[in-house]
Symmetry: C2
Subunit: 111 residues, 2 copies
Amino acid sequence: MPRFDAAGLVTAVAVDHRTGELLMLAHMDAEAIAKTRETGFAHFHSRSRGRLWMKGESSGHTLKVIEIRVDCDQDALELRVEAAGPACHTLARTCFYRRVDDNGELVRIVD
Amino acid sequence: MPRFDAAGLVTAVAVDHRTGELLMLAHMDAEAIAKTRETGFAHFHSRSRGRLWMKGESSGHTLKVIEIRVDCDQDALELRVEAAGPACHTLARTCFYRRVDDNGELVRIVD
């Protein structure tokens, strides 16, 4: 466990452990999972930079991992976290701060 | 919008629009997004079967899409949905029904 894809990754979804709010989506490899379990802070694998990173390593906006859940087919993880600040690099509380309206336009709905 | 990966897919996360609970994760291509917006019910692209499918097409456990949100870099979608039954094919309310304990064992926590 888990079932990694051909690139050795699983999708990880970070969720606020108190409110349940969806915060961000990223990818983890075996190293990122091991580091997360070892330190208690969310680590991911950056596909663009090809390296391990800790969420908040430069911003300080870390995600303390309270619980890790796994889905039915074990190819996705839910990280139940306590966020030390905005989860999004844009400084929004969540990366999912815009909705798609009926015309396909993006409308900001979260500060 | 959105930014599809090399396989023409984006990751989509379905969330209960009332409780915010994370329900399931799947993939959408342009066709699945178009069908979802046209019908109001979540459609995905099955990577294993290589075809469009509507969630609930055989089980009846459809997901009515109340809102679609997009993340900061536009490569992930949040579907805010009303579920007609259990979201998981195992008949659990959510696919994320197990947590990983300190020994790496999976423990069921959701009925």
